[in-house]
């Protein structure tokens, strides 16, 4: 009996490659510039150089390394400043998008291009055959505003080479198992990261494509170029092995944008916020999530920052609702200076589902209620809308305001039929002129009317907060008084013993 044959584990990799990535990362959040020639400059002025550009700019003759003066000679080229923060943000976004197809993702990006390889072995049952997966991946990346090519191969490096050598940006290429060498043979040597010396040697030998490199005899190549030559030959044949080092893409909903010029008008800022929110919503939707809260951080001129948090009652992916809520919030709390850059951070939450009942009472719709409450907050102030929550305290105004949400609990128990006299608290307490007789109130004037006291109950002594100098000692009187025209007034008067003044604090209504 022989030993069972050792089966090699099935390998399948998808490579996602986006070239001219600094330009693509900036244009992702600036859709109005996508159809114009754009060049991205890097470096301190006046020593700026073009580090990335789009195809329309290339068609006009813009090239890497051009200076600002050279760019200015070409009309109609939009010039953007390179932003490493936006670049990093876009990279994270793409990695996270790749992570939705497989947990094993290796990042091989460099400064000018985004490149990641996804281990897609064994995900056919979830995402279909490799061609479908590649198309879906490319479609997802396109919704994020980035054009990228996708290549699938059972060899890691072959997939990279093929993705890099793709003729157009939006290409999906698949290498059948065993066909690596034949498929790669027509690609130029530039798809391998050759050093200057190696490139010079190969050009002297007349080697221009991977097929020509793959056909070189192994021993002679090693004798002339060493093991590095052998590595390049293996890469060209699609046989070079790779030890996969998966990264762990974190899921963090964050978008950052640096504005070209400081913005003061809120309306113009909302266009940018809309684009960024759309990106966040696309990313959250891909994971069947919704945005539960959004924090907007505005960097202002002068170094200050303005941070606002918006949290609706339920997580939602409604773009218009989010824009409205952020607009109302920023209108109520405007930044004090012009805005230089902004960042949006969102917390994901589960998509909301509400079970409605056929006989349940009519309740406010949570999304509309959020907008209504934001409108009301803009009118009366933040602390003046909500539901009152009673504190366990005997202080006057022993309550605090909480944001109002529609409660989903059952009906509460019916109380007894005893009707309680309501108190109308007068805030702030009004000073009244009181006439005393034998230390008891006899008459008082309130709101330009004179009242004669019929019954005075009290005094009830209240010391208030003993540590507070203003609330040292109070004397409280419940008075039943009648004006000369027969109007009855039941009220609560307080005498501040330290200040020696009388105040009307409440009416029993």
């Amino acid at each position: 009996m022989g030993r069972p044959p050792v089966t090699k584990p099935v390998e399948l990799y998808a490579c996602l490659y986006a070239k001219e990535f600094p330009a693509q990362a900036l244009l992702r959040l600036r859709p109005e510039l996508r159809h114009k020639p754009c060049a991205v400059m890097e470096g301190e002025p006046p020593l700026q150089q073009v580090c990335s550009l789009n195809s329309k700019a290339r068609a006009l003759g813009v090239a890497h390394g051009m200076t600002r003066v050279e760019i200015d000679t070409i009309p109609s080229v939009a010039v953007l400043q390179h932003s490493s923060v936006e670049d990093a943000c876009a990279r994270k976004t793409l990695l996270e998008c790749a992570g939705t197809f497989s947990p094993r993702v290796e990042d091989r990006s460099n400064d000018n291009a985004f490149l990641c390889v996804i281990d897609i072995a064994g995900v056919e049952t979830l995402f279909g055959p490799p061609s479908t997966l590649a198309k879906n991946l490319q479609e997802q990346v396109r919704t994020l505003g980035v054009a990228a090519s996708v290549a699938v191969s059972s060899n890691f490096h072959a997939a990279i080479c093929l993705a890099r050598g793709a003729s157009s940006r939006n290409q999906v290429a698949i290498i059948a198992p065993g066909q690596e060498r034949a498929t790669l043979s027509l690609l130029p040597l530039a798809v391998l990261d050759l050093s200057v010396a190696q490139a010079e040697t190969f050009s002297l030998w007349g080697i221009r494509t991977l097929g020509m490199l793959a056909a070189l005899p192994e021993k002679e190549l090693i004798a002339r170029m060493g093991q590095e030559g052998n590595r390049l030959r293996q890469l060209a044949r699609g046989e070079h092995p790779h030890h996969f080092l998966p990264g762990e893409p974190t899921f963090r909903l964050e978008e950052h944008m640096e504005l070209d010029t400081p913005v003061e008008l809120l309306e113009s800022l909302l266009f940018v916020i809309g684009v960024m929110l759309k990106q966040l919503i696309v990313r959250a939707t891909a994971r069947v999530l919704a945005l539960s809260s959004v924090t907007i951080t505005l960097q202002l001129e002068g170094g200050a920052s303005h941070i606002r948090l918006v949290r609706p009652a339920l997580p939602t992916n409604d773009l218009q609702l989010w824009i409205k809520l952020l607009h109302l919030d920023l209108e109520a709390h405007p930044p004090q200076a012009a805005i230089v850059s902004l960042a949006l951070t969102a917390e994901p939450g589960s998509t909301s589902k509400i079970q409605l009942g056929l006989f349940s009472p009519q309740l406010p719709e949570p999304m509309r209620l959020d907008v209504t409450l934001a409108h009301i907050r803009a009118i009366v102030g933040d602390d003046c809308v909500g539901r009152a929550l009673l504190k366990d305290s005997h202080q006057t105004d022993g309550f605090r305001m909480e944001p109002f949400t529609v409660p989903s609990g059952p009906e509460s128990e019916l109380n007894s039929n005893q009707h309680r006299a309501a108190t109308r608290q007068i805030r702030p307490a009004e000073n009244v002129a009181v006439t005393l007789q034998a230390k008891r109130p006899e008459a008082f004037s309130f709101r330009e009317k004179r009242y004669a006291v019929e019954h005075a109950y009290g005094p009830w002594l209240a010391s208030g907060d003993w540590w507070s100098p203003t609330l040292w000692s109070f004397e409280q009187w419940d008075l039943v008084a009648r004006s000369h025209d027969g109007l009855l007034l039941c009220c609560c008067l307080v005498r501040d013993l330290t200040g020696g003044c009388w105040q009307m604090v409440a009416l029993y209504d």
């Binding site: 209620l369 009118i379 009152a388 309550f399 309501a422 109308r424 608290q425 007068i426 209504d509």
Partner: protein, 346 residues
């Protein structure tokens, strides 16, 4: 056709010139109402306050409007409905509302015209703050005792006269109960108020004498709540605003509210001192206080109120036949009383 209906048709045809459709009952539309929780008033209103209409509760201060409205809101929130209280003068007392049975988590409270106090004021009110005089270090004394911090012997008796004066306060020197008492005629003591001072933080100070800003805020908020929908009852509390201001609110506002309430079947309760919604109000109740309950000699126990139906928009006539004699009139007023929160069950 049966003989009865044939007969009815013939009689109606004969009487058509004098009494149109004499034997056919009028089509009745049943208007939904919600109970207020006060039995006498519910009986008077034949069920309660109408839904989808404006109910105006008119009366001076202390006439029971707030207790009435809170009782109604308590009923609503206990039925798992959501209500709103637009507080124009910021006078609602949440403890009272809770005592009346209102589920505060189902009540949206909008406080209009609240001035933003400065942080310094807030901190001194909330937390411990040592008066400034204690923070000033004592001056270094130079002189007889060579810079020692002890007081000069001369100042040791400082404040002694005040301390002695405190001992001689009237309550200390008053004769005790067993001692023979001399009849003393007390002079009236009058306290005059100082001018109120309100410090605001950038926002416009809201003067109590000019409540336009508050009224404007409240009307806009009510509009928003009605547009948003879903609130079963909205109380617009203008009970502390003098009538000369409230009556200047354009009638178009109340008409708009009436239409919105009819559409959303929300009931708008208006607390005012003077009827202002005019023909837009579905029901106008006039409230007045009768007298304070005197069940205990030492504590205030409650009040008795009277409520009159001043106007009811949708009164249904029992028949379309005009009677020759004056029909019996229904009762138009009711009495009820409310007790203070500290009074036990009676």
């Amino acid at each position: 056709m049966s003989s009865a209906s044939l007969l009815r048709t013939q009689i109606e045809a004969l009487l058509a010139a004098r009494i149109p459709s004499a034997l056919t009952p009028l089509p009745r539309s049943i208007r939904p109402v919600a109970a207020t929780g006060i039995r006498n008033v519910d009986e008077l209103l034949k069920g309660g306050v109408p839904l989808g209409a404006i109910t105006e509760m008119v009366g001076p201060e202390c006439s029971g409007r707030t207790s009435f409205a809170l009782s109604y809101i308590a009923r609503m929130t206990q039925a798992a409905r959501v209500c709103a209280w637009v507080d124009v003068s910021n006078t609602m007392h949440p403890e009272s509302a809770a005592a009346a049975g209102v589920d505060l988590s189902r009540l949206l409270w909008v406080r209009c015209g609240v001035p933003v106090t400065t942080s310094m004021q807030q901190s001194s009110k909330d937390g411990f703050a040592l008066p400034e005089k204690y923070l000033i270090p004592p001056p270094i004394k130079k002189g007889l005792h060579g810079g020692g911090f002890g007081p000069h012997p001369r100042s040791e008796v400082k404040g002694l006269s005040d301390a002695v004066g405190d001992f001689l306060r009237p309550e200390v020197t008053e004769p005790r109960c067993a001692e023979p008492q001399r009849k003393v005629r007390h002079a009236s003591e009058i306290f005059e108020p100082d001018l109120p001072q309100t410090v605001t933080n950038g926002r416009k100070p809201v003067a109590s004498s000019k409540p336009w800003l508050r009224i404007d805020q409240a009307l806009r908020v009510t509009d928003l709540l009605l547009q948003g929908g879903g609130f079963s009852a909205i109380v617009l509390d203008m009970g502390s605003i003098p009538p000369e201001y409230v009556s200047r609110v354009p009638l178009a506002t109340w008409f708009r509210y009436r239409a919105a309430a009819e559409r959303s079947q929300a009931s708008i309760v208006l607390l005012t001192q003077h009827a202002c919604a005019k023909s837009s109000a579905g029901l106008v109740l006039r409230l007045q206080s009768r007298h304070a309950l005197q069940e205990e000699p030492t504590v205030f126990t409650g009040m008795e109120y009277r409520v009159d139906v001043e106007r009811e928009r949708f009164t249904v006539d029992p028949t379309n036949v005009v009677p020759l004699r004056k029909p019996p009139q229904s009762e138009r007023s009711a009495k009820w009383h409310s007790r203070a929160t500290w009074v036990g069950r009676r």
